[in-house]
């Protein structure tokens, strides 16, 4: 099982991503520099969190134009499993691999804390280890996680079962109270039409060790491994 982690200038959760992938796949992921034009042959590609290009202009905007992103788009079209977390999610939307955009949190503040998430579908490559409706606990750490898409897009995402994770409370209640950053319909993570690209704001890679205070994030990585083996 081979995986790769893409490194843009300003990314800072690459080691967290590597630790999680290594734990799940049993092998050391390859780190790929943004200036490269080729990707190694891998089963899983992860675009990690951080502040690519300082989050200047728009989060993820500049990274989305990096040479390596053309290669990532090509792999996406070939059906390779791709996970974008936090800044990675922003980069994937800016690159057009996922619909919508991530705007400034409604509170306008950076938010770092654990949050409950509802697993909305278990038929994806990313959630097959969870039960439908399961509530998991991952941390978030972002300033711009407020998911926006127009009504048509939202309806399509819902209709096609592409909303994978929503912000909720410990009992799974999804409402404005539990909407931590103002996202449309509490959306925390979505997949593309083909189901091989997931973008999400929360950090499953920071919930993989009992010392993190919980290991709910392991299931997401294990799901990817199951799906591609």
């Amino acid at each position: 099982m081979k995986s790769a982690v893409i490194l843009f200038p300003g990314i800072n959760r690459e080691n967290d991503a590597i630790a999680a992938l290594k734990q799940a796949t049993g092998t050391q992921p390859t780190l790929v520099w943004h200036g490269e034009t080729e990707l190694p042959n891998v089963d899983i590609i992860m675009v990690p969190g951080g502040f690519s290009y300082g989050d200047y202009l728009r989060c993820g905007a500049m990274a989305a134009k990096s040479p390596i992103m053309r290669a990532v788009a090509e792999r996406a079209s070939q059906g390779v499993t791709i996970l974008g977390v936090c800044n990675g999610f922003q980069i994937l939307t800016e690159a057009g691999l996922l619909p919508g955009a991530l705007m400034r949190n409604a509170s306008l503040k950076f938010i770092c804390k654990n949050t409950h998430l509802k697993i909305e579908t278990t038929t994806t490559r990313f959630t097959n280890q969870y039960g439908k409706g399961d509530v998991v606990d991952y941390p978030v750490a972002h300033h711009d996680g407020n998911y926006f898409a127009d009504e048509d897009t939202l309806n399509r995402l819902e209709g096609e079962g592409r909303v994978v994770l929503r912000y909720c409370d410990a009992n799974g209640a999804v409402d404005t109270e539990t909407n931590l950053n103002g996202s449309q319909r509490n959306i925390a993570g979505i997949i593309n039409e083909a189901g091989n690209v997931l973008g999400m704001m929360p950090h499953p890679e920071n919930a993989i060790d009992p010392l993190h205070g919980g290991i709910d994030g392991r299931g997401l990585f294990k799901s990817m491994v199951e799906a591609v083996s």
Binding site: L57, R58, A61, A101, L108, F148
Partner: protein
């Protein structure tokens, strides 16, 4: 030549920053404000004197990078 680019959120796109500014203005006692929208203003200093060419080039910059046309509109002025 100078190009002035305004990037604003499309109508119908929620503007958390504008909303917060609006709220803060009300908090400061400015009651007569009905709406606030916040956008970006980018000034570029570019080579050449051919306005048409510059316009085309800046348009391309907007499409490729400066604006996210999923949620944003842009306008270009040259001077």
């Amino acid at each position: 030549m100078k190009a002035r680019v305004h990037v604003t959120l499309k109508n119908g796109v929620l503007d958390p920053q504008g909303k917060a500014v609006h709220h803060a203005l009300q908090g400061l006692g400015f009651d007569g404000v009905n709406d606030v929208r916040q956008g970006k203003f980018i000034e570029l200093e570019i080579d050449g004197a051919d306005t048409a060419k510059a316009k085309a080039e800046v348009t391309e910059m907007c499409e490729k990078l400066l604006a996210n046309t999923v949620i944003e509109d842009y306008t270009i002025e040259l001077a």
